[in-house]
């Protein structure tokens, strides 16, 4: 059983919902990434989404773009991201790590080589934003062959047909993008998200994570009522931006712990 599957089964047993925070590897520096990952776990993260920086992050809003630019300016690469995961695994063998990024750095490394190295590093799942299911056949196969979960997005505009297509290739969990927009947007309509979930659950038994636009404990709680996992990204990056190297871990930990409390107010 994969780490991701184990995490969701444990939460299910405890009657709790998952919290999935996102940070960009190498932001603000490579040295701080692993300490930040541990801080996320201490604050109650169930899965960590680790962003792989890319020069042209088309689906991201300004906050995550800036994080990517900071990380790239300091020399972060996909190979170094995998080294960071290896370092994280020397201390934490339990918390699932999902890489989130774009296709080109993976293709530059070579899909097979990436899959092998990622699995060796202790990566559990990979979400490639610009690999929709129709372009992801070899990606899905390569991930699964190495025991990793290919994670896919579902959008408010996805038809029932497309949701079924995602369900066929995805494993681990699916990620429902809660609004039509880029990461970090402000216009989240919780009721609209709630109405869409049954259509997704009809097509897949995988846990459904919801993200894009979740910024505080109150919203996280409202989403956790019907979602299996709450994903928070841009708000955490903003906290890192506001912090110094000395205060980043403590500030992020406090923020994520607060969101955790919101999520935990929901009992199954």
């Amino acid at each position: 059983m994969s780490r991701i599957q184990k995490a969701f089964e444990r939460l299910n047993g405890e009657g709790r919902k998952a919290l999935i925070p996102f940070i960009t590897a190498g932001d603000p520096s490579a040295d701080l990434t692993v300490p930040l990952m541990h801080a996320l776990v201490e604050a109650g993260a169930d899965v960590i989404e680790l962003g792989v920086p890319f020069s042209d992050p088309m689906a991201d809003g300004p906050t995550i773009q800036r994080a990517s630019e900071r990380a790239l300016a300091r020399g972060m690469t996909l190979r170094k991201v995998l080294q960071l995961v290896t370092t994280f695994r020397t201390v934490d063998d339990k918390t699932p790590v999902v890489l989130m990024g774009y296709a080109n750095p993976i293709e530059a490394m070579g899909l097979q080589r990436f899959a092998e190295k990622a699995a060796q590093s202790g990566v559990d799942g990979v979400l490639v934003v610009d690999y929709p299911p129709e372009e992801a056949e070899s990606f899905g196969t390569a991930m699964k062959a190495q025991g990793m979960d290919p994670i896919f997005l579902i959008a408010p505009t996805s038809s029932a047909e497309r949701i079924a297509q995602v369900a066929q290739i995805a494993s681990g969990y699916v990620y429902y993008v809660s609004l039509a927009g880029v990461t970090g947007s402000g216009a989240l309509n919780v009721n609209a998200v709630a109405e869409r979930l049954p259509a997704i659950r009809q097509k897949t038994g995988l846990p459904v994570g919801v993200g894009f636009g979740i910024r505080d404990a109150a919203t996280a709680k409202r989403i956790a009522v019907f979602a299996d996992a709450v994903v928070v990204g841009s708000r955490i990056i903003e906290e890192i931006e506001k912090s110094t190297a000395e205060t980043a871990c403590a500030n992020v930990k406090a923020l994520v712990a607060d969101i955790r409390r919101g999520v935990d107010e929901v009992k199954k």
Binding site: S55, D56, Q65, R79, N104, P105, T157, S158, S159
Partner: protein, 401 residues
């Protein structure tokens, strides 16, 4: 070459391994809607009739073909003919595509159009057509380009468009494209994205090619009238590649016609300061399609360099990648210096001021012509006029206005 007719892209938008739909799930609804609207329009004679009417009366088509006789004589070899896209309304081939896409937007009930632009030509063409159709228009332009192309920025504003400077990344064309995509995904309900070149996710590379193929179709008729036969080679500059696809496409199945795309070699391929993705790039995924890209060993897209802002792009349309791989087209690099020399020669010898983009194609023709007999014929796509490049050329010549 195989004798089976060329039928790319396939139903999923692939040109062999290239093209496709590499976008986030959030864009699929809009792309499906666009595919359906385009298929319906293609099947509707009224759509074709309106497109033809607009091209004739608003753009001024057909554009003529001109025999550059003095220049050919001086070069002493093949005869050079120019397809005069520079004579179109707005001064370049870009408008052919903007009209087609704006007509689609109108059919789809989208009152707002957005576009990305580098040098500003596609932005000006989009702003022009938006004014013509009474649509709201927002153009994304890298803040570096906004500074370099002040006249075109003002032109777009005169036409009623809003120009948004993009501050992210390298602050140039590719970043403007990223930002336009972000706008589109956020405002999908009322917005149509008019992509300016044969790149982006399917169906854009096919759709833009189809709206530009009028260039080559006219040539197929005009060349026998002008020169008594089809040319031995068709030459066009390639940045994203829309003017080249427009003139190449109708010639793909015409035997014996060489197709030559000319890329921007900037300061020289060996210097690393260029924009020649087919000559020096490797396949990868950017802006919704798989194609040749200029990237570092870690898969990050690198900055490009060319005297011509319109060729300053790290990728290339996927159909060019495929034509290169199957050997139907060849791609040659031309440096800034070579393009500038051709620019000046055309000005002085033929009384035509060409765009710097088109000057790359002219420069390759000038290289090739002397190696061929006087009975050979080269057809160059003169994709735009050079008025917009006055400042750049003056600066290169050490002249200040």
């Amino acid at each position: 070459m195989s004798t089976t007719p060329y039928t790319f892209p396939d139903a999923k938008g692939h040109f062999g391994p290239y093209g496709g739909v590499f976008v986030a799930e959030t864009l699929f609804g809009a792309l499906d809607e666009l595919k359906a609207a385009y298929a319906a329009a293609q099947a509707d004679p009224a759509f074709h009739a309106e497109y033809e009417y607009e091209l004739k009366h608003f753009v001024g088509r057909p554009s003529p073909i001109y025999h550059a006789k003095r220049w050919s004589d001086l070069l002493g070899g093949a005869q050079i003919y120019l397809k005069r896209e520079d004579l179109n309304h707005t001064g370049a081939h870009k408008v052919n595509n903007c009209i087609g896409q704006a007509m689609l937007a109108k059919r789809m009930g989208k009152p707002r159009v957005i576009a990305e632009t580098g040098a500003g030509q596609h932005g000006v063409a989009t702003a022009t057509v938006a004014a013509r159709y009474g649509m709201e228009c927002v153009v994304y332009m890298g803040s570096e380009d906004v500074k370099r192309q002040a006249a075109n920025v003002y032109r777009m504003k005169l036409l009623g468009a809003k120009v948004v400077p993009v501050e992210s990344g390298s602050k140039t064309l590719k970043d403007a494209l990223n930002e336009a995509m972000r706008d589109w995904v956020t405002n999908i309900h009322n917005t149509f994205y008019i992509i300016g070149t044969v790149a982006g996710p399917h169906p854009y590379p096919m759709l833009v090619r189809d709206f530009q193929k009028i260039i080559g179709e006219e040539c197929l008729t005009q060349m026998p009238e002008m020169a008594g036969r089809q040319p031995d080679a068709v030459i066009a500059a390639v940045g994203g590649g829309s003017n080249a696809m427009g003139i190449f496409y109708p010639y793909i199945n015409v035997e014996g016609v060489r197709l030559i795309g000319v890329e921007a070699a900037g300061s020289g391929i060996e210097t690393g300061k260029h924009a020649a993705s087919l000559t020096a790039g490797v396949p990868g995924v950017l802006h919704g399609n798989r194609t040749y890209l200029l990237q570092d060993k870690d898969g990050q897209i690198i900055e490009t360099h060319s005297v011509s802002a319109g060729l300053d792009y790290p990728g290339v349309g996927p159909e060019h990648a495929w034509l290169k791989d199957i050997g139907r087209a060849e791609y040659q690099p031309i440096t800034d210096a070579e393009a500038l020399e051709a620019f000046h020669n055309l000005c002085r010898l033929e009384g035509i001021i060409p765009a710097l983009e088109s000057s790359h194609a002219l420069a390759y023709a000038a290289k090739l012509a002397p190696t061929l007999g006087k009975d050979k014929i080269l057809l160059v796509n003169l994709s735009g006029r050079g008025d917009k490049d006055m400042h750049t050329v003056a600066e290169k010549s050490g002249i200040q206005f």
